[in-house]
């Protein structure tokens, strides 16, 4: 009698423990961090990051001595081989804009040019410094008449479909540019030639290289790494 009682109590306790463990693991599943408790906290963090984001806060200009030595600034792409721009490359700009159009590199160079030397922050934890020049996304938005109600901007590439979508305030930040040059030289294929996204206010994986398309959209569309579990906002 007492044995059965002890057994059933043990069973109940074990069931409670198992239940708690199952709840804890499903709430905090490292392989699916957008779901469960980790996902709830990610959305909380996203709101906190958006609230902290100041559209006028610039990443500080780095002194020239801080430049990362040539060859030490990592190159990165997801394709098996170095992605090379197709012949007749151009950038398509569309979505919620009054004048959707395609830009050649020459046409982009004729738009106002922005230059800066700032620190790059990679999600892995390293930092590096380079100078970049190109055209602000905000200047591009003006050139195509982007609808200010489009709260998101999506950037796509010819690097095996690598893409990322941004909140409009970060995309329209004065240090968010479509860069066609690095350290005073035209962009090299390793760093995203002919055109890449660069910014002082996001982690590296948000800065899509090998650009083909920019679209102003009413909703967020995720991204290559974001869809696998990395944070979508990823501000710095």
């Amino acid at each position: 009698m007492s044995g059965i009682e002890t057994g059933s109590r043990l069973l109940t306790r074990r069931r409670v423990l198992l239940g708690a463990a199952a709840l804890a693991t499903s709430a905090c599943d490292s392989s699916r961090p957008h779901a469960g408790f980790l996902g709830v906290m990610e959305r909380f963090n996203q709101r906190a990051q958006a609230a902290l984001f100041n559209p006028h806060q610039l990443a500080p200009e780095e002194p020239v001595e801080q430049l990362t030595p040539p060859g030490d600034f990592p190159t990165y792409f997801v394709s098996d081989t170095l992605p090379l721009a197709p012949a007749g490359w151009h950038l398509e700009v569309g979505g919620h804009v009054s004048q959707p159009r395609a830009f050649s590199l020459e046409e982009l160079r004729r738009l106002p040019r922005t230059d800066y030397r700032i620190r790059h922050h990679c999600v892995e934890g390293w930092s590096a410094v380079a100078s970049w020049h190109g055209v602000r996304v905000s200047d591009l938005a003006r050139a195509v008449g982007a609808d200010p109600r489009a709260g998101f901007v999506e950037f796509r590439s010819f690097d095996s479909g690598y893409f990322s979508s941004w909140d409009a305030p970060s995309a329209l930040h004065p240090q968010t540019v479509l860069a066609y040059g690095m350290n005073g030289q035209p962009l090299t294929p390793g760093h995203g030639a002919p055109l890449r996204l660069y910014s002082g206010v996001k982690l590296g994986y948000k800065m899509v290289k090998y650009l083909t398309q920019v679209r102003f959209l009413p909703e967020a569309t995720g991204g290559t790494w974001e869809d696998q579990g990395y944070e979508w906002f990823a501000g710095v």
Partner: protein, 222 residues
């Protein structure tokens, strides 16, 4: 000397904050080591710090949590809030309950006793007269742990938002110095924890008090 109404050695808010800290520190340390594993070097690209002896050493898998970089970052940024909140509540409690007077290290009051206690541990001098709840050396250690926890959170905020919190970033000397400080603080907090557990094992009564609160007794704040 401020005689006061009888108090437990460990009032419940202290015990709660103390035990909540245990899983939180473990989660943050282990997910932090998983994040470190993604780039186990200190110093910016091409300018690694020569002083750091463990360049490229990947933390062992038993010490890591989160499975991969994205998973670990989600753990770290989810539970970091609770660690910071626990610390803020603890400090507010110390301030408003008066507990800070028998717990925090006040240099003028506690330096002499801290030196005497250290001399006793080093077997240079006999045990100093037992004072209140804690001796000067304990107060120094617990106050340092609190300061290290606060610095961990602040340096962590720099790594999370180096641009938006640029003033804080500058205070730490930049992003990469903050990353080194963040890791150094983890090592120091781990050392503190080892020493803490060893000393508790030598004085088991203190463990009971941190669980039950201990008997209420008349006390003096200092």
């Amino acid at each position: 000397m401020h005689p006061s109404e009888p108090r437990r050695p460990q009032p419940w808010p202290i015990r709660l904050a103390h035990w909540v800290n245990v899983p939180l520190l473990a989660i943050l340390a282990a997910s932090g080591l998983q994040i470190l594993a993604a780039y186990p070097r200190l110093g910016p690209r091409g300018r690694s710090y020569a002083l750091y002896p463990f360049q490229d050493a990947v933390p062992p898998s038993w010490a890591r949590l989160g499975g991969w970089l994205a998973g670990a970052r989600h753990w770290h940024f989810a539970f970091g809030w609770f660690l910071a909140l626990n610390g803020v509540v603890y400090v507010l409690y110390l301030a408003f309950s008066g507990e800070w007077r028998r717990r925090l290290f006040l240099p003028r009051r506690d330096t002499r006793d801290a030196v005497a206690t250290l001399a006793y541990y080093l077997r240079l001098r006999p045990a100093p007269a037992r004072t209140g709840l804690y001796n000067g050396l304990q107060r120094l250690a617990y106050t340092m742990a609190l300061v290290m926890g606060a610095l961990s959170v602040l340096s962590g905020l720099v790594l999370y938002k180096p641009v938006q919190l640029h003033a804080l970033t500058a205070l730490f000397g930049g992003y990469d110095p903050a990353r080194a400080v963040h890791l150094l603080l983890l090592a120091l907090l781990a050392l503190f924890t080892v020493g803490h557990v060893v000393l508790v094992a030598l004085h088991p009564r203190t463990l009971g008090e941190m669980v039950t609160g201990g008997r209420k007794k008349p006390h003096v704040w200092d």
